[in-house]
């Protein structure tokens, strides 16, 4: 299959750009895969409900040679180890990494690879499904830099690490390829916040994150996608857990023409645990997709998924939640729940729980709901003097609280709450004027 014309300029620019090994070799392999895979067709089951039109129609340019000037104050967490990438390139002025305990690495891939980091050569690209997934291949073919985090044995990092990726600050259709590698050593602990902030235009971001947890490690991973309403975002995330480690994820998408996350979490050691919560908001013609696979490969592991969505306008959402319990994974406890709130008649949700269970001593539950605001609750609030509009907004916000309240960082929580509230108000005003 030939490379879609949309990407040829970006691929050529990436191939010509200098990079240290192993980045260069990865890029080469990524390009080969991408050329072979091309864009997926809707005949492929995994892409049946995802409309790639916003991408197929664009012609993506490489990021500008001189990165844009951006304002990152909105999502910046006070007192964090901050790395900011603007249009794929580390911005050393905006970045601010505090003093770190011995052996902890919070850096950019180019720097770490140039210094001959064995960590980077061992783990970068080890999990990403470059041979199967077109946006993982695309990212690997064009990424210029990215973030790398390493926590050695027993280190518990108090302050969160914030990785901010800012792109598309001008109105051109640019291609961004954020890349994240987190390796958490035995009994280490950290909170990693990934913020994807879009400027404007019909840009495409195709981030890839690889997270490796050694025995008894704990990683809390918060991902906020705040792309421009016309931008697309196709994220691939791979997580590998060793025995008794714990991965906690909070993934919030505030909108974008198409925001899709393909996440695969493999519980690859006994008694490992993954707790995944997600929230997506869509309006107008937007689409939000969550494709999640949780693979129980070893006995005694626990996993839970709670994904909630609020859909307005004629927007769409897909939730594909797959739980695989392999033959040896006895005493598995896996739960999954997808709940959607529709604010309009035209919005649609495809919710597809899939269970593939090969072990016999397991506990698996799943459920999905698609519903409206509870009119009885609206009346209850009104009967206490609260206006209909305020009652509706209060109940809609309350629906998001179950996910937002699980975010352990106060500044992220409050920023999300005000941002969600602002968007819901926008949706109502739109409705009133139509």
């Amino acid at each position: 299959m030939s490379v879609p014309a949309a990407f040829s300029a970006a691929l050529e620019a990436a191939a010509a750009a200098p990079a240290p090994e192993p980045l260069r070799a990865l890029r080469h392999a990524g390009r080969a895969s991408f050329e072979q895979l091309g864009l997926p067709s809707r005949r492929q089951e995994e892409w049946r409900f995802t409309r790639l039109d916003p991408i197929g129609e664009a012609v993506f340019e490489p990021p500008p040679a001189v990165p844009s000037r951006v304002d990152i104050s909105a999502w910046k967490i006070p007192a964090s180890h901050l790395l900011v990438f603007v249009d794929g390139i580390l911005d050393t002025e905006l970045s601010d990494v505090q003093e770190l305990p011995d052996g902890v690495l919070v850096s950019n891939l180019v720097l770490a690879a140039s210094a001959g980091s064995r960590l980077v050569s061992k783990h970068l690209g080890s999990l990403a499904p470059v041979g199967e997934h077109f946006s993982a291949a695309l990212n690997t073919a064009v990424f210029a830099d990215g973030a790398v985090v390493h926590l050695p044995l027993g280190v518990e990092l108090e302050q969160p690490i914030q990785l901010m990726f800012v792109s598309g600050a001008d109105s051109r259709a640019t291609l961004a390829a954020p890349r994240v590698l987190v390796v958490a050593g035995p009994s280490s602990r950290a909170t990693v916040v990934e913020s994807h902030v879009g400027g404007g235009g019909a840009s495409l971001s195709c981030p890839v994150s690889e997270i490796v947890l050694d025995e008894e490690a704990t990683v809390e991973h918060i991902v906020v996608v705040d792309e421009a309403s016309t931008a697309s975002h196709l994220a691939v995330r791979q997580v590998q857990l060793a025995a008794r480690s714990s991965y906690v994820a909070r993934t919030v998408s505030l909108g974008g023409a198409l925001v899709r996350t393909d996440m695969e979490v493999t519980l690859d050691g006994e008694a490992a645990a993954a707790e995944l919560a997600g929230l997506y908001l869509t309006d107008g013609d937007q689409q939000a997709d969550s494709h999640i696979t949780v693979r129980h490969a070893q006995p005694g592991c626990r996993s839970s998924q709670l994904y909630k969505g609020i859909l307005a306008g004629s927007s769409r959402a897909v939730f594909n939640g797959r739980i695989v319990v392999e033959l040896d994974a006895q005493k598995t406890d896996a739960r999954q729940s997808n709940r959607n709130l529709l604010l309009s008649d035209q919005a649609t949700v495809n919710s597809n729980p899939q269970l593939e269970i090969f072990a016999d001593d397991v506990r698996c539950t799943h459920g999905s709901t698609v519903g409206r605001l509870d009119e009885e609750a609206v009346f209850y609030l009104r009967s206490r003097g609260i206006s209909r509009e305020q009652a509706r907004r209060l109940l809609t916000l309350a629906f998001t609280n179950e996910v937002v309240e699980r975010i352990p960082i106060e500044s992220v929580r409050s920023r999300l709450k005000s941002e969600i509230s602002r968007r819901l108000q926008g949706i109502e005003e739109e409705k009133d004027s139509s």
């Binding site: 509870d374 009885e376 609750a377 009346f379 209850y380 609030l381 009104r382 009967s383 206490r384 003097g385 609260i386 206006s387 209909r388 305020q390 209060l394 109940l395 916000l397 309350a398 629906f399 998001t400 609280n401 179950e402």
Partner: protein, 257 residues
């Protein structure tokens, strides 16, 4: 001027006439009990007064403080001092009880042109009013009614009433599902709120509640009509004889019209 004046009220739900001509006048400070068997239209009357929209008023009128009550949206009625204690209080996940009450109180204050309540004043107010119905302070932080026991939900209704200080409180079968201790707590709460400028419409199936909340007037609602009105002794007669005692009354009342 009467607080509430209902004249020949007819109400239909899904093409079935439930209320067939209700007349009732409530003056400031009075406690009226409305008693009746299941299906007599008691809860329909409460719902129509509170502004539930699935009920169609096909005749008659309701004046509240001289205004046409039926013209007002549910929230406006609440802001004008009307309060309904729900028979089945609604659970609202994700909204803390205290946040909900503060939002409601501020909506009412803003309607009256008053400033928002100060956070410290509000907290001490919650503590005082919560004590009236022995409400566990932890319930303030919990989502509205979520996981509350039956008794806690009913106490929470009276607690909200205490905070919002209505002019007319309608208690829709607040006694249903309560054991005797919970019933006493709820009744004590209501009694402590009795005031010359506050009236109550106490809707109940059983006279039991009226041992604790002593009404000024008792009305018996059967078949969509008030078939008998009297003083407190009427409730006691009903206790002795049951509603069968008045079974022929709806027909007689219809004839009389």
């Amino acid at each position: 001027m009467s607080l509430l004046e209902i004249t020949d009220l007819h109400v239909t739900v899904e093409n079935t006439e439930i209320l067939k001509g209700i007349d009732l006048t409530v003056n400031p400070g009075e406690v009226h009990a409305i008693m009746g068997p299941n299906g007599s239209g008691k809860s329909t009357l409460a719902s129509v007064l509170a502004g539930r929209e699935e009920y169609e008023v096909t005749g008659g009128e309701v004046r509240y403080l001289g205004h046409d009550l039926l013209e007002l949206a549910a929230e406006t009625r609440a802001r004008e001092g009307l309060f309904l204690a729900f028979q089945y209080p609604v659970e609202i996940p994700g909204v803390a009880n205290s946040y909900f009450l503060r939002t409601a109180l501020n909506a009412i204050r803003s309607y009256r042109g008053e400033e928002e309540i100060d956070a410290v004043d509000f907290l001490s107010m919650l503590r005082d009013k919560g004590a009236l119905v022995k409400l566990d302070e932890n319930l303030l932080k919990r989502p509205v009614n979520e996981g509350f026991s039956g008794g806690e939900k009913k106490r929470n209704e009276i607690f909200q009433m205490a905070v919002l200080e209505p002019r007319l409180a309608i208690l829709d079968e607040t006694d249903s599902g309560l054991d005797i201790d919970a019933l006493k707590i709820v009744a004590d709460g209501v009694n402590s709120l009795r005031a010359p400028d506050r009236s109550f419409l106490v809707i109940t199936h059983y006279q039991r509640l009226l041992n604790y909340i002593i009404p000024d007037f008792v009305h018996v609602l059967m078949g969509g009509r008030i078939v008998r009105s009297g003083g407190r002794e009427l409730a006691l007669q009903l206790e002795d004889h049951g509603y069968e005692w008045l079974e022929d009354e709806p027909a007689r009342a219809a004839e009389a019209q």
